[in-house]
């Protein structure tokens, strides 16, 4: 019987060599260029990423009208903030934000694959793609959040959103206590990708 869970000893070296072989062949055959992969990664470092989402959340924290628009017409709010063009680009053409409140905690999942709002959150971290997370968050979100170190008050309702069609979701976390008087830029620094997916809350103000 084959051991289906045995990995070759040189697993990562072989993966690395194989992807390099593929990239080399695709450049030689004229499918992509020698700049393609680096340029794609550059776009995610500068134009599409969690830095955009953090700006949306920070603005929502200081502007109730903007916050209301962000949850009722997410794309209109994104357009209003003057983010880079890609802020409504690939994997974010149709986004919907849900706001945490003292009564409700929101959690975004994708049980079928790994749908994630690229323009405002960048690329999904490994935890989001983990089959255990995807399976368990649907049935026992509190237990899963506890494993992330987040205890949700039992009196709070959890809403789990499964991204099964083409809407891409993100969470507007609650503004942390003790952040009165902070600038919008400093507020944005408190917002992590995890907070915008609902497995964490926004960080309290750094001491």
């Amino acid at each position: 019987m084959t051991d289906r869970f045995a990995y070759p000893q040189d697993r990562e070296a072989r993966n690395a060599a194989r992807v390099r072989a593929l990239e080399a062949l695709l450049i030689e055959k004229g499918v992509i260029t020698d700049q393609t992969v680096d340029k794609v990664m550059q776009t995610f470092a500068t134009e599409m990423g969690p830095f955009n989402g953090a700006k949306l959340v920070a603005r929502a924290w200081i502007d109730d009208v903007f916050k209301a628009l962000l949850v009722t017409d997410t794309m209109a709010a994104v357009a209003q903030l003057g983010l880079p063009t890609g802020a409504a680009g690939a994997e974010g053409e149709h986004m919907r934000a849900v706001a945490n409140t003292p009564q409700v905690h929101n959690l975004i999942i994708c049980t079928l694959c790994s749908c994630y709002p690229w323009p405002v959150l960048g690329l999904p971290p490994y935890w989001y793609k983990d089959p255990s997370f995807r399976a368990r968050a649907a049935r026992e979100p509190r237990a899963v959040l506890k494993e992330f170190g987040l205890e949700v008050d039992p009196a709070k309702e959890i809403r789990t959103w499964d991204s099964s069609a083409q809407i891409r979701w993100f969470v507007v976390p609650e503004r942390p206590d003790g952040t009165q008087g902070m600038s919008e830029d400093d507020l944005a620094k408190l917002v992590t990708p995890e907070a915008m997916m609902g497995v964490a809350v926004a960080l309290p103000q750094a001491a």
């Binding site: 690395a16 499918v31 992509i32 990664m41 680009g89 049935r139």
Partner: protein, 244 residues
């Protein structure tokens, strides 16, 4: 129905792994970049022609079909981007861009000399198109003149169409009853026809709320609700249920 279609709610799994990195090995960036380039260069998009030799369709649906076709044990065995590497390499071989012998031989070369440089080549129009795709996206939105079949508050029964190679209907919702929470504006198409599964052409999409106690009686946490975005083709009026 495959395990990959019905992950939601699966029992007996391990604790989650709070791994916050996007890439855990440097090579993973490369396959991500290749996949994104393929999507951007796919010929069905309304974007300028380039010098790229890529001439076959590649969308998320193709990547997902590959993952859904995997032996479920392999699906759990391989890391996320390992699955991508397998699916994408196989696609380039199956579509005649490269041969298996070429990639095997080249893999051995890079295994022996990981520092061996990549070849040079290509013109900027290719990368310009990829950037345009990332900035503009590929909206599946379509105008829709008809009234959607369901309204907010309607009780709906989720269908159970056959899954052939691809579906956007999570297994845990099949044959279950929910309440329409949102009727999205107009209509959305899907990236390909899923055949008897029922999606592809533009149709309304709804966000439907489900009670976890109905989905997993006695075996779901209290105090939460689960919502899913579902295409019109997946939903039935609840009267169908009584007639069934």
């Amino acid at each position: 129905m495959k395990l990959q279609h019905t992950l939601g709610g699966l029992e007996g799994l391990d604790p989650v792994q709070p791994e916050f990195r996007v890439f855990v090995e440097p090579w993973e960036e490369r396959i991500f970049g290749i996949h994104t380039a393929m999507m951007a260069l796919s010929p069905q998009l309304n974007l300028p022609q380039t010098s790229s030799t890529f001439s076959t369709v590649w969308t998320w649906a193709d990547l997902r079909k590959g993952a859904e076709a995997m032996n479920p044990f392999d699906y759990f065995k391989y890391r996320y981007y390992e699955k991508w590497l397998g699916g994408i390499s196989g696609y380039f071989v199956a579509n005649g861009y490269i041969t298996q012998a070429e990639i095997d031989a080249r893999t051995d070369e890079y295994l022996a000399d990981p520092a061996k440089p990549l070849p040079s080549g290509g013109t900027p129009d290719v990368d310009d198109r990829i950037h345009t795709y990332l900035m503009d996206g590929d909206s599946p939105w379509h105008q829709w003149a008809d009234k959607p079949r369901f309204a907010v508050g309607d009780i709906v029964l989720v269908g159970d169409p056959p899954t052939v190679e691809h579906t956007r209907l999570p297994g845990y919702l099949r044959n279950k009853v929910g309440v329409v929470e949102t009727v999205y504006d107009d209509a959305f198409s899907y990236l390909c026809s899923t055949g008897p599964d029922g999606i592809g052409p533009a149709m309304p999409v709804y966000c439907v709320k489900f009670d976890p106690q109905h989905l997993w009686p006695g075996n779901a946490e209290p105090g939460f609700s689960i919502y899913a975005d579902l295409f019109d083709a997946y939903l039935r009026p609840v009267v169908d249920r009584a007639a069934a």
